[in-house]
């Protein structure tokens, strides 16, 4: 039995190779009970592989992990009974009603009929589908289906809820709704949640996030600590002559300005009070100035050396390779 001080998820040197391609490269982390933990990284970074291993859908090629206190390889069925899953792809039966989908789930997870009935209504209410319980799922919008999946994932009262890109492909309004439900859920049930995302604003909502890139965890901390670790505000200026401006900034202020796409980028501890000093140091005309507090984007760049979107573009080959291998071994 887990207590508050215990760990919902323990991961030790976990690795997964698909042939010669390393999808997960010896990662380790723990998630205490009740935490909302986020995995942030571009597509192909190893997020889905990791989540699939923790959910017992894939076998690791090295390392160990425990979920809800159970070993993911040796105690597979116990792990499965202790977790809820919301996948990237929809896994509902379109020809069944919302309630039938839930009932099917309850049977497979051994939830007694009376208990399942008692839990269904409040869950459907929470995800705003109480009045659609008897509608066929095929009449639902993408957002409604996703909400039903979240309700279904919670029906057997899992200790850990895994959400793999729960808002992917949804419109901004629906994304906001889903997050409202996630927040309410944490507030009400204190369920441990593990989610993967490549949206910075979603990572921002987590208690802690791990930044994963090319199969490795490069940083793990609270969003605010991670942002503080970047240490500096980003000042972007556009001048009439960036070359001259860069040398003047370096001579007068002793700061390196990096040219980037027709602008100069500077990292300084306090951006706002730094702006007047730029104006007094420069002889060339300034066209625009922009100050930005560190964001998770900057954190991502600092720890991985590239932008999350660039990473997505460059990793897409590896991703395809991995998806192909994944299909061969597991998606059956």
């Amino acid at each position: 039995m887990l207590t508050m001080s215990e760990l919902a998820v323990e991961v030790d040197a976990l690795g997964k190779k698909f042939g010669s391609f390393t999808a997960v490269d010896g990662i380790s982390f723990d998630i205490p009970v009740g935490e909302l933990f986020g995995f942030l990284g571009p597509n192909g970074a190893g997020k889905t592989s990791t989540i699939s291993i923790l959910c017992t859908l894939l076998k690791p090629t090295s390392g160990t992990a425990r979920v809800a206190g159970y070993d993911i390889v040796r105690e597979r069925d116990r792990v499965r009974r202790s977790i809820g899953l919301v996948f990237q792809e929809l896994t509902l039966d379109d020809y069944l009603t919302a309630e039938e989908n839930l009932r099917f789930h309850a049977v497979m997870y051994g939830v007694p009929r009376s208990e399942a009935r008692a839990r269904m209504q409040p869950l459907l209410e929470m995800v705003g589908l109480a009045d659609r319980a008897d509608s066929l799922v095929r009449t639902f919008s993408g957002g409604m289906k996703r909400r039903l999946e979240i309700a279904r994932g919670l029906l057997h009262e899992p200790r850990v809820l895994f959400l793999d890109e729960p808002t992917i492909g949804l419109d901004p309004q629906t994304r906001t709704h889903i997050w409202d439900y996630v927040d309410e859920l944490r507030h009400r049930e204190s369920t441990t949640m593990f989610l993967t995302t490549h949206y910075m604003d979603e990572a921002e909502r987590c208690d802690r996030i791990a930044i994963i890139d090319a199969g490795r965890i490069v940083a793990i901390d609270t969003p605010s600590n991670l942002k503080a670790s970047v240490g500096a505000d980003t000042v972007t200026i556009e001048t009439s002559d960036n070359v001259v401006a860069a040398s003047e900034i370096s001579v007068e202020l002793g700061i390196i300005a990096e040219p980037k796409g027709g602008t100069l980028v500077l990292h300084v501890p306090d951006g706002e009070s730094f702006i007047p000093r730029i104006f007094s140091a420069l002889t060339v005309g300034v066209r625009s100035v922009n100050v930005r507090r560190p964001s998770l984007d900057d954190v991502f760049i600092k720890y991985t050396g590239h932008d999350i979107r660039e990473a997505e573009a460059s990793s897409s080959d590896g991703n395809r390779q991995m998806v192909a291998a994944f299909r061969k071994t597991s998606n059956r």
Binding site: M4, S82, F104, M108, G110, R159, S190
Partner: protein, 277 residues
Amino acid sequence: MTATTPPDRPLTRNTSTVMMVWTRELIRLKRMPTRLITGIATPILYLFVLGAGMKNLVNSPQAFSAAGAGATFDYQEYLFPGIMAMSIITSALFSAMSIVWDREFGFMREMLVAPVSRTGLVLGKALGGGTVAVIQGVILIVVAPLVGVDLTVTRVVGLVGALLLLAFALTAFGIVLGARMQRMESFQMVATLVTQPMIFLSGAIFPLKSLPSWLNVLTRVNPATYGVDLVRRTLLPGAPAVTWNGNVVPLWADACVVLVLGGLMLALASALFRQSD
């Protein structure tokens, strides 16, 4: 963490899962009733068009009756149980397509991540698909008097049993075919490729003794032959039987062959699903 997991009873959970998977197939049939019509259309066409056309052309009662049985049947009577078996074979095999459907539309994942045994899932599917096929077959019983086949309670009960057995075995076979397939189109193609020779070489449409001897060998290894024989001789005692070296194969042996096929296919299907974990 205050929530406690209820005590686990794997046997109850797996039994209820079999029931639930079975129920789901029936719910899906209820939601797509046109499936029944398309499933019945072909057999009706065979029976009333092919059967009526051939009846007068092949007017030789001894071809469609066992020697010394006392009963004589015309072609349409002979064809009726064959068509029934054909309808079962086709719809059972195609109902296994729901496996591929489930994979294509994601629901397979929901089942595969659940803490239930693969055998339970496969068994539920085979029973569900089998039941759907039997429902189609039973509807065809209604037209029996129209082609002159006499129905008695014993015969109908025996027939339903025979249809259930055949449908279950063929659905299990279909699940094996579908276990590794990603697209419904490929399943359809393979299933058509398999069902046609299976039916032609089963004695469903014409007596097997009219085939050249090398083809006759194939008919004896075709499990559908025994299914057709079981259905036909349950419904038409005195119809020509399948023989091994000139000896009539008893009905219980027919049933055993079909049952063994079903069991083997079920085991193979669960193995295929377990392997992919």
